[in-house]
């Protein structure tokens, strides 16, 4: 699946664990059910998929050993992953990659980024220009976020990075 960072296509160096197969040595993304197996590996970066109905505190203890958390949108209208991303940054001070997957619209890109999401998995046939446009469309937001954007001088408004 194409992977976007800052509106651009990047190479995905991660692999999702395959059911019933060993995890191997490279960077691998495991389901939450295989987290301890992943943590038990000696080499290779570890990513984990956080189910949409899980509180981020499920990852609290293992987070120092996790480089990537995938949050998933069952449907774009389900706003829970926004809260998960924000909580990973704000409550657990997670500094690794947060990747959004599932059904997402380019119109949600700014919200994702402002909640702390780093990368987005988009569908194969997606019009990438819509994502790029979405990223540079706005220069002002009306409230602070975990990205700690620059205040505009008064009120809660923030300048979005160009």
């Amino acid at each position: 699946m194409p992977l976007l960072e800052n509106g651009h296509l990047i190479t995905d160096t991660w692999h999702y664990a395959v059911d019933g197969e060993a995890l191997g040595a490279g960077p691998v993304i495991v389901p939450l059910s295989r987290l301890s197996e992943g943590l038990g590996r000696i080499t290779g970066a570890l990513g984990v998929v956080l189910p949409v109905d899980q509180n981020v505190s499920a990852l609290r203890d293992s987070l120092p050993k996790i480089s990537l958390v995938v949050i998933g949108f069952p449907i774009f209208r389900d706003g829970r992953p926004f809260s998960q991303a924000r909580a990973l940054r704000e409550h657990l001070h997670f500094t690794g990659e947060i990747r959004a997957s599932g059904h997402i619209l380019p119109d949600q890109y700014e919200f994702l980024i402002r909640c702390g999401v780093t990368t987005v998995e988009v569908a194969e046939e997606t019009d990438l220009s819509a994502w790029e446009r979405a990223l540079h469309q706005f220069r002002v937001a009306m409230q602070p976020s975990v990205m700690n954007e620059k205040p505009t001088g008064f009120g809660l408004r923030r300048f979005l990075p160009a």
């Binding site: 829970r80 469309q137 602070p144």
Partner: protein, 570 residues
């Protein structure tokens, strides 16, 4: 656009809008960019790139509904306050893009019922020129924050809540985390112990008051609401300090976004979550979040609040002089004027001033409708008599907040000429009605025709004065947009074997004595419902004690007595 447009106004604008926040360049850039985005979305929809399912939440974010016959555009009126210039922009939209009228809603917004999809970007441009928008007037997000229609004017007010309403408006506008909530989310804020915003019937209701040092404190109610499951809100906090207002609301919304139900839209409002968890557990979760969160990020420093307050214009009241004496004189001379003053005005905090409620409920009319010409007229009156400020009420009327008492007669004459001088505020014909089956795709029954029939039936003003305070609210279906549960007499449209029918509820109130109306009995036809209301009123007139209101008589006499009047006529 170059970056220098983002240089903020260091200097306060020479002209500030009275009663509402005055935009600066940055606010305008924000609106422009959002309109560009919506234009792009409309184009993608028309080209087929977006499916209707994908387009729907995006257009809803921009206030665009698909109704029975056409698109409807709902324009946000933050805390119900408009400038004359904005009212003219609304008149223009009604004229150019609709059928010459607009409809004021129970959430202090205005909606246009006959908008074409391809015209919406242009309509939004007209709004933007007047610093207005339709953002978040629909969809599962934090909706337009409503407030007291007498804010900043009322003699009984402790604190003008509109500065805080503006802060909440800004905070909630395209909030990155709370734009795809389980369901819509409504906030109301009042600064008076007389609850005119139905704080206990909102997802969050706030009542502000100053502490001993004059710093604002907030009572916080959560999980109230009407709709299918009417519930009076739970008080979460009694004394939330100003600096934590945004942080605490963030905490409530975070809990709701995570735990609110998403499997059933009828169980998705926060009231259901509060009921399911219980008030204590809900409060516990909010407190846990509140304690854990980075509160500094959301802290409202006094300087921040002051900076927002500085962008509100303040009316320059003139000394009282002989204003009130002149008003007394005119009232003695003209009885019709006197009757209107008694019903359609509200005591003002400044000597020599008074607030005027303009009735949008003429005999036999459609509650809340205003034509383009009437809107222009209201803009003129606001300019001439009320510091260019106009307010929308949650009962679908409008208010001129600050009128000098010695000019009230002129205002009344002008209103009367324009068909807006009906002296019926708070009376039985001051009816609230949702759009119903004339427009709304969810409706079971039409709400407007029965409102018109009741309005005609009780048109006699002498009779209305005799009946006194009596609130009738009408909803076309169980979603209760007409707030029928919160009315002394509520009328609910239901579907009875494919026919439109109406059920009565009695004893509701949306004010500080909040209560939920009780269903009286089986539904009946439109004409029977009108007759039933007439019989209820007759019964009340016979049985009341002295000055007892209908609501109080109902509470004293009980449901059974009133039920007999309708279902077992002697």
């Amino acid at each position: 656009m170059s970056a220098d447009i983002l240089i903020r106004d260091d200097v306060l604008p020479a002209v500030r809008s009275v009663g509402t926040y005055t935009y600066d360049q940055i606010d305008r850039v924000f609106l422009r960019e959002r309109i560009e985005q919506f234009k792009d979305q409309v184009a993608r929809r028309i080209s087929g790139e977006l499916t209707e399912d994908e387009f729907k939440p995006l257009r809803l974010m921009n206030g665009l509904y698909l109704q029975l016959h056409a698109y409807m555009l709902r324009v946000a009126v933050p805390y119900g306050t408009l400038t004359a210039r904005q009212v003219r922009a609304l008149a223009r939209i009604a004229r150019e893009f609709d059928r010459g009228y607009g409809h004021f809603t129970t959430r202090q917004n205005i909606q246009f019922n006959w908008i074409r999809l391809e015209d919406t970007p242009a309509a939004l441009e007209v709004l933007a020129e007047a610093d207005m928008h339709a953002i978040q007037t629909s969809g599962n997000c934090i909706r337009n924050v409503t407030s007291d229609e007498f804010a900043g004017a009322s003699a009984d007010e402790l604190l003008d809540p509109r500065v805080h309403a503006e802060i909440l408006r800004q905070w909630s506008t395209l909030h990155p985390e709370f734009t795809f909530l389980p369901r819509k989310f409504k906030i109301a804020i009042s600064g008076s112990p007389q609850d005119r915003v139905a704080a206990r019937f909102h997802d969050i209701g706030l009542i502000a008051r100053p502490d001993v040092n004059g710093r604002p404190l907030f009572e916080v109610f959560v999980g109230g609401g009407l709709g299918r499951t009417p519930i009076v809100g739970t008080k979460l906090r009694d004394d939330l300090p100003e600096e934590d207002l945004v942080a605490y609301l963030e905490a409530i919304l975070r809990v709701y976004n995570e735990f609110g139900r998403r499997d059933n839209i009828y169980k998705a409002r926060i009231k259901i979550l509060v009921q399911a968890l219980g008030a204590d557990e809900f409060r516990q979760r909010v407190d846990t979040e509140f304690v854990a969160m980075d509160r500094a990020r959301y802290r409202l420093e006094p300087a921040l609040v002051q900076a927002i307050r500085n962008r509100f214009g303040v009316p320059a009241f003139e000394p009282e002089g002989n204003a009130s004496a002149l008003l007394m004189e005119m009232r003695q001379k003209d009885r019709a004027f006197d009757a209107w003053v008694r019903t359609n005005t509200h005591a003002h905090r400044a000597p020599g001033y008074i607030s005027v409620v303009v009735s949008l409920k003429p005999a036999g009319g459609i509650p809340g409708d205003a034509t383009s010409d009437q809107l222009d007229m209201l803009a003129n009156l606001a300019e001439r008599f009320s510091f260019s400020e106009l307010r929308v009420t949650h009962l679908q009327n409008v208010v001129l907040g600050h009128v000098r008492q010695d000019r009230l007669y002129e205002v009344w004459q002008a209103l009367s000429e324009a068909g807006m001088g009906t002296a019926n505020i708070g009376f039985i014909t001051d009816i609230v009605a949702c759009p119903g089956l004339d427009y709304c795709a969810l409706a079971n029954a039409r709400a407007i025709p029965i409102a018109q029939k009741l309005s005609s039936r009780f048109a006699d003003l002498e009779l209305q004065r005799e009946i006194g305070s009596l609130r009738i609210n009408i909803s076309g279906c169980i979603n209760a947009c007409g707030h029928h549960h919160a009315a002394h007499i509520g009328i609910l449209g239901v579907d009875k074997r494919g026919e439109e029918a109406f059920q009565l509820t009695l004893g509701g109130s949306g004010e500080e004595d909040a209560s939920i109306g009780q269903i009286l009995g089986p539904a009946m036809s439109e004409d029977d419902a009108v007759d039933a209301v007439a019989r209820l009123v007759d019964f009340y007139l016979v049985r009341r004690n002295d000055e007892e209101r209908f609501l109080d008589a109902y509470r004293r006499l009980g449901t059974a007595a009133f039920k007999d009047v309708v279902y077992a006529p002697a």
